[in-house]
Symmetry: C2
Subunit: 377 residues, 2 copies
């Protein structure tokens, strides 16, 4: 349940209550694809990098190890030994981005597993049932994520179908929560707004799903091919139609600047693979911009990644020179240290955003950092 | 400096003093090839797994990032942020195992880098100078490690050359330690016994190097192709000629059973890539033997790797099922958790050996565990 604490412009400072603990918003969820963070991070490390919410991927857990076995093992939270809230996605995005030979019908999607090629069918009921078996805190409704730019007619038909899938997802969630062996009978359901980059479709869709009284509302189908200005414009026009008393989640976004700008437009919740993926490529976030540790100039640089950073990597005093050396020597530790730093940076960024909101200086914070954090040093 | 605390049979309980701190023997050194442990472990993790001594590979650090740069960065201990003792090998073993097209002469060895193929020359003076620049606590003399079975004549000539190289290594070490920019002017030098599997060569060589008053004595050229019984036999016959008041290091050995048996024969110090390498393959050490986490039967096993283990992985409660899942999902975290467990097991094994020696029950400990720990569950 979302509590709006205060606003500055359209930016919202809030709190979200769940049976697995509360989290403060705006918040960034840390992506643990198959119940582990890329770069060799465990739930112990997630605590160290100030993670509030873990995100796990339903599709990946479905194909390996399977939701029934994970149910037997007490669910994803018990499996990964993460005590806090977990959000599972619906699998929809992976079906559309990873799977081959997919076939979309009103019932759902048939596709081939990217692991072993076997045929899989997932519709709203299947997605919700899998997420129920995984025992996450928050389940996402099954939707179709359309790549941008999209054709108007297709986007319209897809958004309508996604609405009908949400109605079915909601019914399925109620049924799963009532089951005697539900790991989390209080599992929450977020609906997802779609409509590609078309204002009328987005607004119409948001108006309709708002009536369904979901536990939260996500904006999907952005950051999938369109320029950032278009993403901001869609956020700008659709936000007034998102229920004020519900949490708002912008899926798969983004850079630190994207996040600051989206908070300015009223978004509360984020997830993105960027901190982990960029970390694995040696691109490290700092309050002065993005540092590329592969650069030769760091070979003898005895400073931590960011001298003002208090992450486990910088705090221990591991230097840019050491990480540069580990990258060159192809040591796995390089990936781990870079991912730890970047995840901490993102979680700490959210803390700074919340502090700024608490002190009525978010607008100044956004002006100072939105562009700066995304620039390369 | 080695202090013999007590003996049980030929097994020795001791302490080794260095300017970078003392360590208790028998001890196992943890291999940080390029200044990082395989599996994504940092010096922070080394403390967590009870590591006393870190071992770094001179050859790897020479080819990447180079000893001069590491010297500028305050040496390998400062680079890896490891406060305790570090032993560097001489590079000799890697020259003979990794490099191609090597050419051995009295001066030293010319070979091609396994990274970029460039020609490198290392002799005793070069090896010691590199190790001095790396600023390790203990340097190893440059030797030739002959693969077993070896030809007698070659082994004899090689052992004689290794003796001459030790004399030169000792002179070089004295010179390096006297240099004004020596990172560790108290760097210690260990000599290495060679002679393949020939009793007379081994004994003759040990007698000669014993006269050189090194800071410690290693037994090299074992566990390189000969059966374990032959290794134990060589240890058995050469041990009486190793100086009683100096530490004894069996290089590159081995299984838990090998270590217990070698301690019984008077060895104080060990190193081996086995805990990390086996861990990366999912072979996990327990006090009941070796568990293969890849096995399907662990899919729903909710016990930790070893219910009696207090390592960071078992203590947190990560289950066999979780690690099995991570292995199947090809998550890097699987490697990290397995390596952490195994390194802790080895370091904890040495603690158990020392406790047994302290309580005059090492013989009983060896009888109970030497075979058991090496068997597959």
């Amino acid at each position: 349940m979302y509590t709006l604490i205060k606003k500055e412009g359209r930016a919202r400072r809030g709190r979200f209550h769940t049976v697995h603990g509360d989290f403060q918003t705006p918040a960034f969820m840390n992506v643990a694809t198959a119940g582990a963070i890329k770069g060799g991070l465990s739930s112990v490390d997630l605590e160290d990098v100030h993670c509030q919410v873990m995100l796990a991927n339903t599709y990946h857990l479905h194909v390996r190890t399977g939701e029934e076995k994970i149910h037997q093992l007490g669910g994803i939270r018990n499996l990964a030994k993460w005590d806090g809230p977990v959000l599972t996605d619906s699998g929809g995005f992976q079906v559309f981005s990873l799977a081959k030979l997919r076939n979309i019908k009103e019932e759902g999607v048939t596709f081939n597993s990217h692991v072993d090629g076997r045929k899989i069918f997932i519709g709203p009921e299947e997605s919700i049932r899998i997420q129920s078996r995984l025992g996450s805190t928050i389940a996402m409704a099954f939707d179709e994520c359309v790549q941008n730019p999209a054709e108007y007619d297709y986007a319209a038909r897809s958004a309508e179908r996604t609405y009908r899938w949400l109605v079915r997802s909601k019914d399925a969630m109620a049924e799963c929560n009532a089951a005697s062996d539900a790991l989390n009978p209080h599992q929450l359901l977020f609906g997802i707004n779609q409509g590609a980059t078309f204002e009328d479709l987005r607004i119409q869709h948001m108006k309709e799903i708002a009536k369904l009284d979901c536990d939260g509302y996500a904006i999907g189908g952005l950051a999938v091919g369109e320029p950032p200005e278009v993403m901001y414009h869609i956020l700008d026009i659709v936000e007034p139609y998102a229920p004020e008393n519900k949490i708002r989640y912008l899926m798969g976004v983004g850079t630190p600047g994207n996040i600051i700008n989206a908070v300015s437009l009223g978004v509360d919740l984020f997830d993105c693979v960027m901190p982990a993926r960029n970390g694995r490529h040696g691109h490290l976030f700092t309050m002065d911009g993005i540092l590329n540790i592969n650069n030769q100039k760091y070979e003898l640089d005895e400073r931590p990644i960011d001298p003002d950073c208090d992450c486990p990597v910088c705090r221990k005093g591991f230097t840019r020179a050491y990480i540069h050396h580990l990258v060159k020597a192809k040591e796995m530790l390089a990936l781990r240290l870079c991912v730890m730093h970047n995840l901490y940076f993102y979680n700490r960024l959210m803390e700074r955003i919340r502090e700024a909101l608490d002190n009525d200086r978010f607008s100044a914070f956004a002006s100072e950092y939105a562009d700066r954090l995304d620039q390369r040093i």
